[in-house]
């Protein structure tokens, strides 16, 4: 039990004393999370809207595949992305293996089905009366689209937070695609895995608490914005 309490104190010390290695991992984590979330939200929200709002051929089948992909194993994504980014792979020439961008690609693949499926569910759960109301107040097609997205904002926010939680805490992709390179691609989760392997439980717990703090700050900020709106 003591090492957990020690971990808490060490986490505070690491952050207060500006431990470079810790800050490097925090910075890498925030960067890859930001990249992957930006991509997955930019693609996932419109795709989720289309899937939730429109009927098209093979919709049910695509929906089933998307729902299934919500539980993609991170090591499988890591393996596939590795295979594509390695020198012998189809995208090897871009030199993305063992880079933060490479990790972000893998994490975006992980987050995308979550954003699409949960956004689609949020849109589907909207009352048909919303469309009737918007049209009867004079909204154009584009205004119906944006107003519907705004009305579904809490559902979309939940989708984003869910995806962010998955991205922030995954370790398989960061380890396999990033290579856990110190000062470069080492994220908080890969650092925790390394420290645990080394038997440095206190440092591992300290980094885990930092990770929790990041998650808390992001969720708290979003909840604050939600309550204000």
């Amino acid at each position: 039990m003591n090492y957990i309490i020690d971990g808490l104190f060490q986490a505070i010390q690491l952050l207060i004393h500006g431990d470079g290695e810790t800050y490097s991992a925090v910075y890498a984590t925030i960067r890859v999370s930001a990249y992957s979330m930006t991509v997955s939200l930019l693609i996932g929200i419109p795709a989720g809207f289309l899937m939730g709002h429109h009927d098209f051929l093979w919709k049910k089948q695509i929906r089933t595949i998307t729902d299934t992909m919500m539980s993609l194993p991170t090591v499988l994504v890591g393996l596939l992305v590795y295979a594509f980014l390695t020198n012998r792979g189809p995208l090897g020439e871009y030199g993305l293996l063992f880079s933060l961008e490479g990790i972000a690609i893998g994490q975006a693949i992980l987050a995308l089905p979550i954003v699409i499926a949960l956004t689609a569910s949020a849109i589907e759960s909207m009352d048909e009366k919303l469309r009737v109301t918007l049209v009867s107040l004079g909204a154009s097609r584009r205004q119906v689209l944006f107003s519907t997205l705004w009305e579904a904002r809490y559902g979309i926010l939940a989708a984003s937070m869910n995806a962010f939680g998955r991205v922030l805490t995954e370790v398989g992709i960061a380890m396999m695609v990033g290579g856990n390179i110190k000062w470069h691609t080492r994220t908080i989760t890969t650092a925790i895995a390394l420290e645990t392997n080394k038997g440095e439980f206190v440092t591992g717990v300290a980094l885990g608490l930092v990770l929790m703090a990041i998650a808390f700050i992001v969720n708290f900020s979003l909840s604050f914005l939600r309550n204000r709106s």
Partner: protein, 342 residues
């Protein structure tokens, strides 16, 4: 001659191969008040959705002020508004709900607060108390009033009301009715109102349309008797037994599930058992309701016979002579040849 707000020709709407609306020809004059009555599923809401250009017809054309119009077209988008039975309020404050339509139309935003206060006052809600309330802080009647205020603030040329008073308290219902009439009188708004409150509709509407199975079957004064029909003892007629044991006789229907329609003008009312002609049939009933139709100096009388209500309109003079009163036992008679089928 009064110009038409709508002209519908050969309009049909299908849902899963089922015909929801089938209207050959319908003219709705500008600045008129038109009522729609009919049982649930008769196509009233589907027709209103098409008149609001929310849905397009599967067949046929709808002309709006002599121009063909489509959903989202600029010719109708800012001119027609629909208030649904259970309105949806946007997940915003009352103010934001009402200002939504105004913002879509542009205009001087400095006038918005004044316009919204006026609209709220019209529907009987205090602007100070309600303006900043969130959508979830309203009762059903208040929500309906806010939804109506969001339409009234736009001063639409056509206001379509779908069962506007069906699920609200009496105070809200009265206020909604008054506001609709105010829009008609003050701004010349064309009103089309679907309601089960036929008494109110006959009181305010220049024209009441009775809908049944998607078709317009008359002016709201028709008595509809649903099947199933079984062969009578004589084998000449079909019949249906009412709850009180009385039998409704009808000629051969197209199918045993068809609905019989008897125009009120064919029904005669008497306080004693009538002497029947050879193809007439009589039923005994009790006067359930008497109401005045001031526009045409007539009295509407509802007569309860078993589980069936018959409605007929009689001139005020005759009503005075016969001294009708609610609770009175009466007889109604109709010729079987007057029965039509849907």
């Amino acid at each position: 001659m009064n110009k038409s707000a709508y002209h519908l020709t050969g309009v049909k709407k299908f849902y899963n191969r089922h015909t929801s609306v089938d209207i050959e020809d319908l003219l709705i004059p500008q600045s008129s008040i038109t009522g729609l009555v009919g049982p649930n599923g008769s196509g009233k809401s589907t027709l209103l959705n098409m008149l609001a250009f929310i849905d397009r017809p599967s067949e046929g054309t709808i002309l709006f002020k002599d121009h063909k119009a489509e959903p989202f077209s600029d010719t109708v988008r800012f001119r027609v508004s629909l208030l649904a039975q259970e309105p949806y309020l946007l997940k915003r404050s009352v103010y934001e709900n009402i200002v939504y339509g105004l913002k879509l139309r542009g205009g001087d935003s400095s006038l918005y607060p004044k316009q919204i206060n006026e609209a709220l006052a019209l529907v009987g809600l205090s602007p100070r108390e309600f303006s900043n309330r969130p959508w979830y802080g309203l009762s059903g009647g208040e929500s309906q009033r806010v939804a109506l205020a969001a339409r009234l603030v736009l001063k639409p040329e056509v206001l379509l009301l779908d069962e506007p008073t069906a699920s609200v308290d009496a105070d809200s219902a009265g206020r909604i009715m008054d506001c609709a009439l105010m829009a008609s009188k003050e701004w010349g708004t064309t009103l089309v109102i679907a309601s089960h409150d036929w008494k109110w509709l006959h009181e305010i509407c220049g024209n009441v349309l009775q809908m049944f199975k998607g078709k317009i079957v008359g002016n709201g004064m028709e008595n509809i008797i649903f099947g199933p029909w079984k062969l009578g003892e004589s084998g000449l007629y079909r019949e249906k037994t009412l709850e009180d044991g009385q039998i409704v006789k009808v000629p051969e229907p197209p199918s045993s599930e068809s609905a019989a329609v008897i125009l009120q003008s064919f029904i005669t009312l008497s306080s004693h058992e009538p002497a029947l002609k050879h193809d007439e049939h009589a039923l005994k009933g009790v006067i359930a309701q008497i109401s005045l139709e001031p526009a045409i100096n007539a009295i509407m009388v509802s007569i309860r016979t078993g589980n069936q209500t018959f409605t007929l309109r009689i001139p005020q003079e005759k009503a005075r002579e016969t001294a009708l009163f609610p609770g009175q036992s009466v007889y109604i008679a109709y010729p079987l040849s007057a029965v039509t089928w849907y």
